[in-house]
Symmetry: C2
Subunit: 580 residues, 2 copies
């Protein structure tokens, strides 16, 4: 076992023999697995790209040569080799690095990346800049097979191949996306693997790339030879690596989907810790399975993240052809859904808040202008969503609500969530998005079966002087504040707006009678959000309005409670605001 | 010459002989050209796809068989054959049809389409729906070569080829986008044309499509034979047509870019009417040419619309490699620009307001999170932009301004426009978007060379009681209103906010001293826009706020003046509001 502490930079790899590099790789894997087993993280992708990363840094001269990782969830080993080994050796420093490339951490990282299919375009931009400056350097994009199905990757490949200079695309083909791949291009990748890269039909060659196939993508010797062959090339070239996702850890090799992103696990058995509590993924998948069974025209769509939707392999099997995975291609998911809805089906696209923004134009043009009754189920919206800067869940309200035609619903608890989702599927008058609550909550309130009277709010408690209009998950907080205030002798009004995409003007007008202040609460960015609509509505009246929500900024790996406080979304802060 | 009045539906084509169909095509061309010469419109695309449209409707059985046109700017002949011939024969009815497919007009139109690269996905959805319902019908997507470079089209092709059923993609390859094509896939299309479709490298085959090449894509006999061959196929198939853009009108065949979308023209000579007045396209292109000459690291990027940017073929030649056309691939344009900016270049992406929404995620993830100083130049923003429902220019403020990090500037006249664009390129601290004013205006006011003190407004006239904060083009209207009011003895304050992405809170606070009402004006949708930020800021103060702007809705081919009035964006309505 090599003492990895001595690996301060890629320079420390130079001059090593193959066997020394192999020993290094083994040590890296041991250390990496130890961290992952305790800390969790993207396990399969990093184990699978470990040797390739070593080979890249052995052959190329980072940061003069520039490596751009797609999604960059596979960049852990890159971090280990570029001055950040402590964050993988020392448990007290595990959280000193992010899970993605980060220019703030190292000159070897060029972009903060977290979404799919962007690396070829970004690296292409670096290549164009290099050429405009008359410099020379290798520009390398590392992109997984799963990422190649996204439109941005195709656009990047299409432009990249027109470069008359060095541009190296390393395709890390582990025959997997997050789950299994979907899309016809994967048949071509399979064909290339099965023919040792020699098949006449070659996707990359039709786009004009030189092409090099590496059948043993976890073999250091093969990798080094391949990278040395393309180093300093004066042409765009694809190096197609056949890699093993989860390489070197049997449970991850066997269960590639589960170990794509792993919770802490047992290093001996691979047994993964996890919660047995019911989540919204369970509620969604069980509800949809029942609906699909009852109506053969109902379908669930995912863009490469079936697990987020609660659709385990078993549930996918149950759903059969009514479950459609288009690969990580959100534009296709939305546009396909529009066509399906037009054709009489009831498609429900389950998607992460941060990823729906990849399909704004499709939400507007393909769906809303056409009025096709597509249903969106938005996961991880709000402060309780994902905390990486590239996966923030607080832009979806401004994104969806301001497109004419979309009805955006904010259920406050699981019962309301189910009733809204149920209505969204049954009706065919509107495109409807449902924002999954940020926290699990249950309520004995009664919920309507019909939400077709748009923008009609629910008055949860009736009071005077102050009304709090609290969207989605915020309602619980508003109720807590109301309880506290009641104990102090103040009865405020609490409203569940239900709809994020429009105002209940009748209610807003009636509040003027005996209220002086309206507080809005939403766990999303204030700019472009729900509260501002309320503020505008009351703008020329005597009603005072105070909007509580997230400041317009990018935060990385934030603390949920701190952001709740900073956003004024705690019961204490609402009470204080009212008592001020 | 056939009397086209008798063509009421595709049924009227059935049973006709080839020579009768050829005669029909000639008549259609004559009538179409006559309308186009008077009315203007998409000339080259419709002339080039004329025979193919006749053949499609002869062979297939619309609307049971469903034809979905990409962009649908080439659907004029389709409209002529599906009950809408009057709109092409009778000059008084020329405007009774839109320039795109429109389900409101005919059961033969399935979607309202206007953006590029969507048809394969939408048609794919119809195909999935057909299969889920257990029906049979031909589903046909018509897509131009220029549209194939867009990521959504690739995603659609990738999913479409996985269908185990009928799915027909007609590729209308006229070897042109709006201007010339850019992207390596066009080398493959050229290779296929040059080898009569027989080249070993075949983009469509690598994606799993059956493939049929039609060398004479304007020859009815060939087209009918090809469509009959694929009709009722049980597999996804690409029919690759080699067509002539502008077919049958010599000036349009010779000058394909100019006649892509033509203003009215002389039927004999092809001479096109046009304005000699300086436009923002001229200002932008001349300014950028000078900047590019002075600094070899400045670059202009277009996503397939060089003409919009004022970059005529001659100016593109002048700019050389500093002018980059990525094809109609806005995601690539933005991500590439981010990479270029990171690499030390100064990329300026000139783009139509309605098309920048195709790259929301790239603006957020690839640019803003990374803080790379990309410059956007937004054309056709506002009510004075394009009036088709698919090309509305009033969503860009909500889209761009609410992304953290983006500085969105709204110049009010050409001098301010140039000073802001100049600063945007010189600075490297922020991604900056500049919204081209909606109308040509000139001002003798002085403009700073530096806009780095973010959100600092310009107080144009100092008054009391009422302040109008008027963004961009609206400033002129506010000044007119102020003049009228001055004559009535009222001195109002008029503010040019300059920035759409943030507030000048110091100024807003100072207005509280001697103002009771703030009116905001923006020629964009109110929801998520600039005015709402002002309303929120003043929400808990005594200041009254009234926001003027466009209602959140989709309008088609609207009357500019009417929308100005409805939005409260006229001098009269501002005066009336203040006097009320």
């Amino acid at each position: 076992m090599i003492d990895l502490k001595n690996i301060k930079s890629p320079a420390d790899l130079k001059g090593k023999s193959l066997s020394e590099l192999e020993e290094l790789a083994e040590s890296l894997r041991t250390v990496l697995l130890r961290k992952l087993s305790v800390h969790g993280g993207h396990t399969g992708p990093n184990l699978g790209f470990l040797e390739a990363t070593v080979a890249l840094h052995y052959v190329f001269n980072s940061p003069v040569d520039k490596i751009v990782y797609d999604v960059s969830h596979q960049s852990y080993v890159h971090k280990m080799l570029t001055g950040r080994i402590d964050a993988f050796i020392d448990p007290t420093k595990y959280d000193t690095v992010t899970g993605y490339t980060n220019p703030g951490e190292s000159e070897h990282d060029f972009f903060t990346i977290g979404h799919t299919s962007t690396a070829v375009s970004l690296a292409g931009g670096l290549a164009v800049a290099r050429d405009m400056k008359g410099e020379t350097a290798n520009i390398i994009a590392v992109v997984g097979d799963g990422s190649l199905g996204g439109g941005e990757a195709f656009e990047g490949l299409d432009t990249g191949a027109t470069l008359k200079s060095n541009f190296i695309i390393v395709v890390n083909d582990n025959d997997m996306s997050i789950a299994e791949n979907h899309g016809s291009m994967y048949d071509n990748l399979r064909l290339l693997r099965e023919t040792d890269g020699k098949a006449a039909d070659n996707f990359f060659k039709t786009l004009g790339y030189d092409y090099l196939y590496v059948p043993y993508g976890n073999d250091l010797k093969s990798l080094i030879a391949a990278f040395e062959r393309v180093k300093d090339t004066d042409r765009p070239v694809v190096v197609h690596l056949n890699t093993q996702k989860g390489k070197g850890f049997a449970p991850a090799e066997a269960n590639r989907e589960m170990f794509h992103y792993a919770a802490p696990f047992n290093l001996e058995t691979g047994a993964m810790s996890g919660s047995d509590a019911e989540g919204y993924d369970d509620i969604f998948s069980n509800f949809m399975l029942a609906r699909m069974q009852a109506n053969k025209l109902v379908a669930v769509i995912t863009a490469g993240t079936p697990g987020v939707l609660g659709f385990t392999p078993q549930k996918r099997h149950q759903a059969g052809s009514q479950f459609i995975d288009v690969g990580i291609a959100e534009q296709e998911a939305v546009a396909l859904a529009s066509g399906m809805a037009k054709g009489g089906c009831r498609p429900v696209f389950g998607v992460v808040s941060s990823f729906i923004q990849r399909a704004y134009d499709q939400l507007s043009q393909d769906v809303a202008i056409n009025g096709n009754p597509v249903v969106l189920n938005i996961f991880y919206g709000g402060i309780n969503g994902m905390t990486d800067v590239t996966h923030l869940g607080w832009f979806d309200i401004a994104l969806i609500s301001n497109i004419p035609g979309w009805v955006y619903l904010a259920p406050t608890c699981k019962e309301e969530y189910v009733s809204m989702l149920d209505w969204a599927i049954k009706q065919t008058s509107h495109p409807v998005a449902v924002r999954v609550p940020g926290i699990m909550a249950s309520s004995k309130r009664e919920f309507p079966a019909d939400y077709s009277e748009l923008n009609k709010s629910e008055v949860v408690t009736n009071g005077s002087d102050v009304a709090v209009i609290a969207a989605g998950t915020c309602l619980q907080v508003a109720m807590e504040a109301a309880d506290t205030l009641r104990a102090q002798g103040k009865n405020i009004t609490v409203v569940n707006p239900r709809y994020l995409s429009g105002l209940d003007v009748e209610l807003l007008d009636s509040l003027k009678d005996n209220h002086q202040l309206v507080i809005t609460m939403e766990d999303a960015v204030l700019d472009g959000g729900f509260g501002e609509k309320v503020a505008r509505y009351y703008g020329d009246s005597d009603m005072k309005v105070k909007c509580c929500g997230v400041k317009k900024e990018f935060l990385d790996r934030y603390n949920v409670s701190e952001v709740m406080v900073a956003s004024g979304l705690t019961a204490d802060s609402i009470v204080a605001l009212i008592n001020s």
